[in-house]
């Protein structure tokens, strides 16, 4: 497992730049083997990567086949006479993990919940990455005044702690699943922007970009054809790690009452938040969705760390 140790005095901004600069040293060839191929080769030998990938793929399959796997309708409230305030029946025939406070099958809700949670994670990360990359390309590709203006804006966004920013945006947009995703996406935007810009700056000064410029290749072609593709590796790593953060952050916003107002929809964060009120009676109702969140976040984190290691020139051999 690699961790980039921060330089003394490095702020959040400088750390992002540093990650970008590290990854920027990648483009040098390594015995004729392409970067991608050598990365894949090392990923396949890395048990951490395999574990992460297995977890992620398993959850994706569950999300995909939830209707086939779920034993019951996740919305249906069974009229079990024992379900009342102060007592919620546990596991029994047909209800492997028991029912929740409204008599709904917990297992089915967990299985269906993977769809919502992964959806929130993926959509918000993709949205954040796309917006951030657009800013990054503007700044890194055009440079000069555009770079200064865009990066000042990005620095302002970075100066607001993530959760506070997500709260402000959720409050502004009103509680809904879409605003939840937008709120999380916006917290990711500055990170992606700064990362891609830093990475592009390194590539822009590289020999091949210089050669292309000397040959009279147009700037747009250099940026999109050469510099951008070579700058993407730290962005990919960050996106994988951000998926984990996004899922955890969605749970936190749900807990603060800023999540999906449709509480019947199965989603891990909302399940976890609503189970807090019955925690002393049936702690499992909180523990199951929490475990799902932890495991899937762990999967993405392991995969992201392994990717970073595989793409880091320090570890190429």
């Amino acid at each position: 497992m690699t961790v980039t140790t921060p330089r003394p005095g490095a702020g959040r901004r400088d750390r992002i730049d540093e990650l970008a600069a590290r990854a920027g040293q990648l483009s040098d060839g390594d015995g004729g083997e392409s970067l991608l191929r050598s990365a894949v080769r090392r990923l396949r030998r890395n048990p951490v990567a395999i574990l992460g990938a297995v977890i992620v793929v398993a959850f994706l399959l569950v999300a995909l086949f939830a209707p086939l796997l779920a034993p019951r309708d996740p919305y249906a409230q069974s009229l079990l006479s024992e379900v009342r305030q102060g007592s919620i029946p546990g596991s029994r025939d047909g209800y492997l993990l028991g029912v929740d406070q409204l008599g709904r099958d917990v297992l089915s809700r967990l299985l269906y919940g993977s769809r919502q949670s992964l959806l929130i994670g993926v959509v918000s990360t993709v949205l954040g990455a796309v917006l951030g990359m657009a800013l990054g390309i503007l700044a890194g590709g055009l440079g000069g005044k555009v770079d200064t203006v865009v990066m000042r804006f990005v620095d302002i966004l970075l100066s607001i702690p993530g959760l506070l920013m997500a709260i402000s945006i959720s409050v502004l947009l009103g509680a809904s699943q879409l605003s939840l995703m937008i709120a999380i996406a916006v917290t990711q935007v500055p990170v992606f922007a700064r990362l891609l810009r830093g990475s592009m700056l390194v590539q822009r000064d590289s020999d091949y970009a210089l050669a292309a410029r000397a040959l009279g290749v147009r700037r747009r072609r250099i940026v999109f054809g050469h510099v951008l593709p070579n700058s993407l590796s730290p962005v990919i790593v960050q996106a994988t790690l951000s998926l984990a953060t996004a899922i955890i952050e969605a749970a936190a916003l749900s807990f603060l009452g800023l999540g999906d107002p449709d509480i019947s929809r199965p989603e891990w964060g909302a399940m976890l938040a609503s189970a807090q009120s019955v925690l002393s009676i049936r702690p499992e109702l909180a523990i199951y969705p929490a475990l799902c969140i932890i495991v899937v976040a762990l999967g993405f984190t392991l995969l992201g760390e392994a990717l970073r290691e595989a793409l880091d020139p320090k570890f190429r051999r």
Binding site: V3, R7, P8, L164, I167, S168, I294, A297, L302
Partner: protein, 334 residues
Amino acid sequence: MLRFIVRRLLQLIPILLGLSLLLFAWLRALPGGPAQAALGERATPAKIAEYNETFGLNESIVVQYLKFLGRAVQLDFGTSTRTGRPVLDEFLDRFPGTIELTVAALVFAIVIGIPLGYVAARRHGGVVDNTAIIASLLGVTIPVFFLAYLLRLLFAVQLGWLPGSGRQDVRIDATHITNFYVLDGLLTREFDASWDAVLHLVLPGIALGTIPLAIIVRITRAAVLDVVNEDYVRTANAKGLSTSVVRRRHVVRNALLPVSTTIGLQTGLLLSGAVLTETVFAFGGVGSALRQAISDRDYSLLQGFILILAVVYVLVNLLVDISYGLLDPRVRTR
């Protein structure tokens, strides 16, 4: 050194201006705008018109922003809709609690994190190392509020070892001078009150400290691994210095530089409102007030608190920066 500090302070200006602009726009973009935010949802149109007149909300947006900025510079952030008190007073009442909680969380994270990270690095690849890595990964993936609830359920509700809510037992009639409850107890020589406040910090401190703990373990481990392979460590070993001297003077000292950077960054984040932890433990700090303001739609309070907290975050990061300028001359020239 002075030039370095002045330069850093100047860099703050655009960030602070941008922040104020964002939050100004935020309040205006809210449904109903600032009048509704200040008067509450049941305000009549007549009241809203009156409010707009009094507070100059009918003027041009530029003039409004400049006035907002002028008030913010004088630390006037308006009044809370719910309590009717100035937002700044609300903040100052609660911030000491959040500072105490931050200190508790950091103490927990540092006291466990640095030794654990160091041992993990010394036993690189061993059982301790792998356990530390897995634990630190779990630390960053576990939702904070869930961990907080578990700790509270186990140690406060079921075992009853530690208090699980508030900052101090309500039965204690303590005098509060500074609103730092631990400090107040010491100042007034009410040591019971002080000790009780410390006990109230244990569970929330652990919950809040987990993420910094996980990060500190990983950074310490990585930093020690980086440093032991440095030439100067080899030189120190080669010239016959005893292992303990090499470790103490060369390895630990250099490894702690990146760790202290991390601690600085985390401090800013923790101070910026432990919304989740404070909510679970009903801890009377800034975070639980934010949570309350969300459900009350107390927008003036939200705006003021978020603005102040963002400024605190920026300032703490600046202080961290400057302190490195003092520690490490290389930083100043950048």
